[in-house]
Assembly symmetry: D2
Homo-oligomer: 349 residues x 4
């Protein structure tokens, strides 16, 4: 890894925000019982319940997002039931079949923008039950959305309410993957709060890995049927961390003094700087993301020229001469890195 | 958690050894690619290969032991194949069916001591193939052992060689769960080195969680068939850590300057102090463990009296007035804690 | 297959009883909708509900016993739950891990006779919930018994009631595998009726394959939670027979005019003839079976001498000179075959 | 079921062709060992190997198509591998997630006609391996096709050869679902023989259920890796029929004196009569099927008028006034039924 490369390739290139590193150091020699039954986890749970305004929530901490998705989905569904998701959804594409490994089909809904629409869900589920052979097809039982989506987009409050409504109508669980939730909550375009999410979904997770933690996702289960015996599921899925305190300490820190929000805002602010600068140059974007991931479509020659100093991720070729790239900022991105990038990139456009 | 309780309940009550905490702090702002493809993981791999004397080994890092067991076993077996294990083996008892979750039966072998005997394996596999209905029973394909065992016991070199031999004879993989490997390697009773293990098994893992790390197990795959596409399995099983560097940094540290051995020896030395002191008082033990876990059988009244100052784990009642307890030391146990325990305990015996 | 060999090796050596063959021939050109939604299945369901005295039962037909067991068990359990069974139970031994293939552990209870005892269940489940680490072990949720057992034994009404009681106490489902149910119901030793079974279990199946049908098992679901969406499970498990009528016609025939009982009685009567004749000669038996399977322990020399004219199944060696054999009669066994066997066998004893 | 309704709804509305019923009756009292190890199965295997020209084929008989697909696919794939199929393929739509139940993702390829194109496969697999994150996505390892397809279409020899080529290029298995194979082989449009299929695929099955048998599919495994231990897989998947002879007898009969071909031709001839008559009236078709399933697009009013005398299956609405219907003929369809249908239908068009 050359020290000269500045990485914008993803939002988990660094360790953890200094507050978390300090908390881990400070508590290192405490003796705590394992498996998430320690005072740090308890305190983190209390802080999260307060933040989301749901005393009846059940909160457990897992190490990663695939674990969170798999454990929640497999806990919620009977064997013949499936989960509806955008065809570009993380569970449908980027988890090496981890959902299918638990015996469940991901029912992919086509959507050019990567968002699940209430109307599409309604059509799908109505068609399922109207089919006289419905027992020969997977029964839809849950809707999976990510917020922000894979492409950095946000659901509006209206869209989320519509999803809740269609889920109620058809007896579906609504589950929100919040791997980058922090970046979504602080976006200038956001009209959805974490309390809205806690009010409108049956389960969601608050992403730590990509928002300042070393690792960790706080799974929040709201529907009582999902809460029961969930820790058995965690263990069965291989997700029970021995030193659960590590997760508790991190979320305790993130949810103290607004740290989670503050570091997310830093990242989004820098992303907006990049976006505005490129837009001013007329650069087109693959998605109109108001969050920390930006997807400018750049000439290959430009990408090539920058490649010895900056790392982006390719997000698919657009035509013979252009590539959609992903540029991520994070809680850890120094403003100077953004300045350097723009200084080097803008003149090439 | 009262600060007055001294915990001997398990060997993962604290965080990580200071060298690891320092390394994590020092590297916190490095930018590294994710998923175990960073220079720290590479360096840790090189150090492990050197330590085990197998340049052809394939090393990957996972967060926990259940993950390691599940991923290795499910990667190795075809769907109708099972894994032989002692009936007390971790995979048969304490993983909430995580192996069965991947579709495989654990074929439990009775053994009063919790060790798998080569002769028992031989009998089992011969009986399987001699049965004209063998297609109606799970096909044995792997032997799972832990070293030290759940009860803190060690395989001798002779026993391990016999297992290798019976595995070769019947076309079985030999897999060793090394959750507490460090404590086994440094035991005064040990005649098996890590190089023996790397020579005699098809796969094993080097436990970090219980031996000084915050978390992490180094899975070492020796048989080429197990190496192929193993990273797909990790991702599919939900075990691909985004910031894989955290695992690399920890194992890099543990395998530098003999740290892994040194901290393990500290724990075992203290365990021997406890063992010898209790033996001198005539206390019987459930297992004759030469490692960091001790299983003295204590009068209930004694256990009760200590319970406001020390935490042990109950390991099953022996009769109406006695309980087998587990007393663990670890890399983190201060000598003063052992002194205090003996000072309070011995007079009660 | 030499025509000179008379087979007593199992109770499914022949096709189906003539009444079934006639019914299949008579209905062959009827046009019926598929998948068990035809008038024959409906009529068979009505006849079974009447026979068991439970109008609220839900009845579905499957092709074989492993399918029935797998589908019922996987429909009933959440992913981290397991099924208690005798260690010799069919699901634990002779289904090539089909239960584990659905992700569930069979929790084997030791029992020398192959019967599950209420007290053993009680102890197991109490120990589970008393264990502070219970979330690290598979949660018991169902009791599986077979009636008759693998060894031909029967549960008494008192034993069955005790199992019901312990299941109620601990919130367990009670499931009865009736692969050879007919032979159990008509045994001179039986004090359990099919109505008792329908009253005391949550689910059971009425075996057809081994009791006169070409194939087929009638799964009877009594607990409402097991009934819901069961047909999805059948399809998902690969057990939805296209021409479901074939199952309906067979059970319609078996449950008309007492055919099921009549043919079972024929088999058991002949088995008792064999049993009594061997007992009169002082032959010991592996199990004291009052049903159609007999397990006499015979000298190897005798088995060897008969082997060119009779096929039995070996059921395990008892000592260097004796083998436990299984001799099965069935609905199809002609009295002459039994006469011939005894004529040839008795003089050798 | 009113006797006045003539069903064209599917090709498994009746029992079996008379030759099979006669063979089952004639062998009913034979004593045979179970599980497909009887002389009838052996003879059926020999006849099939001769018919397909592959002495090295391994043939096993299963009861149904979902079972066949699930067992072959799960036997072939490692846990993280998936199977490419048309999005309309049976395994992707109509098996209630039976493939996912074995832990594998169906990788759906869009294709308006329901056929898998070699070029689409090539693109997909090249893109997979070119993706630097390929370990985060399911690894493609098998191509599933059905012949005829769900829509009654056939692969040409050229198309099949191209698929073989692309599979060889990328190390994929090629598997052909022949649920309606007979109807495909005898179609006037067919240029693919069963020997071509046995030469070009790694595995396929010969459908019996829909082509004259009571039930049954002959799975033909050509690639040696798929043959090994396949019977374990059958048992594990719940597909091991106790009286395996029933499958043997049926395929023995179907492959004697060209019965399989003869009855398939009867069905296709009648389907062509229907097709030609409707085409002469200008009726459009959803698929240009040259096999026993026809998909005419009919005015709703016409469908409604016929519904008290004929049963079709709806195959999706085309516009506000038209529905695509499926009209199936089979080995069992009397010419008079077709005459009656056309007599009643044509005047309405």
């Amino acid at each position: 890894m050359s020290s000269k490369i500045i990485r914008f390739a993803c939002d988990y290139d660094e360790g953890a925000c200094p507050e978390i590193m300090a908390a881990l150091a400070a508590t290192n020699f405490e003796q705590n019982p394992g498996y998430g039954e320690d005072p740090h986890c308890d305190r983190a749970r209390a802080l999260i319940k307060e933040a989301i305004g749901r005393e009846d929530a059940y909160v457990q901490f897992l190490v990663g997002g695939t674990q969170a998705n798999t454990t929640v989905i497999a806990a919620a569904l009977r064997p013949f039931q499936g989960v509806l998701a955008a065809s570009t959804g993380h569970i449908n594409v980027h988890e090496t079949g981890a959902i299918e490994a638990t015996g469940h089909k991901v029912l992919a809904l086509p959507d050019p923008e990567g968002k699940v629409r209430a109307a599409t869900v309604d059509d799908y589920v109505k068609a399922h039950w109207a089919d006289p052979s419905h027992e020969h097809t997977v029964q839809p039982r849950m809707v999976y959305i990510s917020h922000p989506t894979e492409g950095g987009l946000l659901y509006s409050l209206r869209e989320l309410e519509a999803l809740r409504e269609v889920c109620d109508k058809h007896g579906l669980y609504l589950y929100l993957d919040g791997a980058r939730l922090g970046y979504g909550l602080v976006s200038p375009a956001a009209d959805v709060t974490i309390r809205d999410i806690a009010r409108l979904t049956d389960a969601f997770y608050i992403g730590g890995t990509k928002v300042g933690a070393l690792f960790g996702e706080a799974v929040v289960l709201l529907h009582p049927d999902l809460q029961k015996d969930f820790r058995y599921m965690i263990k069965r899925q291989g997700g029970m961390l021995a030193k659960g305190r590590l997760l508790g300490i991190q979320f305790e820190t993130l949810f103290t003094d607004g740290l989670y929000t503050r570091i997310a805002r830093h990242a989004v602010d820098l992303a907006m700087v990049i976006r505005d600068a490129l837009k001013a140059k007329g650069v087109p974007f693959l998605y109109e993301s108001p969050t920390n991931q930006q997807f400018p479509i750049l000439p290959d020659a430009v990408v090539e020229k920058l490649s010895d100093r900056y790392a982006f991720e390719g997000w698919g070729r657009v035509d013979d001469e252009h590539t959609a790239t992903r540029i991520c900022t994070s809680w850890a991105t120094p403003k100077e890195n953004v300045d350097a990038l723009l200084r080097d990139l803008l003149p090439l456009l």
